[in-house]
Subunit: 335 residues, 2 copies
């Protein structure tokens, strides 16, 4: 298994990316290629005592930043570490690609350089989110703000295949459609049409789900248009932040509450760990013809290592081939 890693994506690049790649190379039977400025990668590795055994470096002179226009990956920044990695992936020089860089640029670059799977209407970014009983997938989380019903069907199919094979150990993932109520007839035009399509798809569809039930993990795959998905992703973070901030403030009130904090600290840490999805490696970009994983912009070595492991599993479990078959079956069902 060969995974290409963008050494210059994210807030902690290149040091944490190189570290994570070296750890993955040492722990797993994965060949790793790092894309980016060769001299700098070698210098940073040497300065930090990181061995580069089993790691190939693919030189790329440029870097695309979070502040750059996503579209610039096709022009001004076509020689950046992300673009180079995607082209090498497309050329078959690796089995999967991992980047912590700009999400918009990654979607744009993957769609252009790696191409979509034939029959898939749009690529979707599908992060794993913390549920009460393990992670669930949110698809789409913002790649496509205006969606047509068949796009939601594709999201459901792609998400189900990924969760069933990569995280579910073959147990058919449950799929829910985000709606304003659980009754079959709820929602607007988009939801009505998408509901009918997903119901007929043969997936393990549990029907409409309300946003209230998402955090408790009501479905393994939570399907929404990219606008709604983006709101779900960011609002979850926002509410969690307000809670953590207030809880912390309460514990800092006085000497007694500070003592109380000591008593609950290990359990609060456990809860925080449960809410942390970085061990699942980030978000697969589903719908492109090769495995691409977007890991958090603030990913440190451990997250990068996990992302590399998950990227290899993504490639290993035949997810792309199954998606390709599933969307083919849709179009023959149409005839």
């Amino acid at each position: 298994m060969r995974v290409i890693v963008d050494a210059f994506g994210g807030d902690n690049a290149p040091l944490e990316i190189i570290k994570g790649a070296a750890q993955a190379a040492a722990e797993y039977a994965i060949e790793i290629s790092l894309t980016g400025r060769q001299d700098e990668i070698r210098r940073v590795a040497a300065q930090n005592g990181i061995g580069l055994d089993g790691i190939t470096i693919i030189d790329a002179p440029d870097v695309i930043l979070m502040s750059d226009e996503p579209r610039s990956i096709l022009k001004e920044h076509k020689d950046c570490s992300m673009a180079e990695g995607l082209r090498r992936l497309a050329a078959g020089e690796g089995d999967a690609f991992v980047s912590a860089g700009s999400t918009g640029a990654l979607i744009m670059g993957a769609t252009f350089f790696v191409k979509r799977i034939k029959g898939v209407s749009r690529a979707a970014l599908a992060p794993l989110m913390p549920g009460e009983n393990g992670p669930f997938m949110l698809i789409d989380s913002g790649a496509n703000v205006d969606c047509r019903p068949e796009m939601l069907l594709h999201f459901a199919q792609m998400g189900s295949i990924y969760m069933t094979n990569v995280l579910g150990g073959g147990r058919p993932a449950t799929v829910g459609l985000v709606n304003v109520g659980t009754e079959d007839t709820k929602g607007g035009e988009l939801q009505h049409a998408a509901f009918a399509l997903i119901k007929e798809s043969g997936l393990n569809f549990i029907g409409n789900i309300e946003a209230r039930d998402i955090p408790s993990g009501v479905a393994d795959v939570v399907v929404a248009d990219g606008f709604t998905g983006n709101v779900i992703l960011k609002l979850t973070e926002g509410v969690a932040d307000v809670f953590m901030k207030n809880i912390k403030g309460i514990f800092m009130t006085n000497a007694l509450t500070k003592l109380a904090a000591l008593a609950v600290k290990p359990y609060l840490k456990g809860f925080k760990k449960k809410m942390d999805t970085s061990e699942y490696g980030g978000a697969p970009l589903l719908g492109v013809s090769k495995p691409v994983i977007k890991t958090h912009g603030n990913a440190k070595a451990a997250s990068v290592k996990n992302a590399i492991r998950v990227a290899a599993e993504f490639a290993n479990k035949g997810v792309i081939e199954q998606i390709s078959e599933a969307v083919k079956a849709n179009s023959s069902a149409d005839k």
Copy 2:
């Protein structure tokens, strides 16, 4: 000021509604009419030692339940306590109406019996939500799942007028449009068009806001289509529930954490109170030609009392007249 109250709406009707009405009649200079089964209201009041001084009873033989179709308020349940209250409001027998009953039925009944303000495209349900620095308004929270751009403009105008006059003491409320990013060009077709309309409206518009920033109170009025608004309302509850459940679980772990719980309990209560918006009386239904307040289905006497006070302020502050003027100004600007 005369407020009509649906005595048979919500989970705790009629007892808590009657109690809240009696408290409001005693504390404020408000005449109250209760709609519902006259005999039962008198019997429950007598059994619980509640005086009905200053309260009129309007007999209504029927009740509409949460499980009834909203549309049934126009036919099978046209003689229910909610419908009777709305008709009396429309006839000028009261200045405002409060119900804890079915939201769907209330929107349907208010639109049909009380009618929309001329020029307003749709009525919107606009709950007050807890922000870090006080409550903000979410409009629309689910009355209209499919929205056109001018509907979002109306939501912005109505929300701004309500928040400025009823809660803001005349300070112009800030208005934000929910979007996938803060840049002016973000979002889909609906957001692009709505952004342009709201920007030209003369409101205190702070532009696009991200869902991440909603819970900290980034805007006094949070504008969204009803589908997105419903997701925001319910997801906020869902994430908060998961947090509270886990925090409680942590405090129950062992003897030491139970002691810790005692130390922080008063402060946790303070935080819970901050997150509780019931003192703001519930959600105004904006866009109908008379003040209507939907209070929580599980409202107890204190919430009902607050809802009655807020309904009177809603009527007192000329909100309806200002909305009417504002939407008139839109249409003359179109010419």
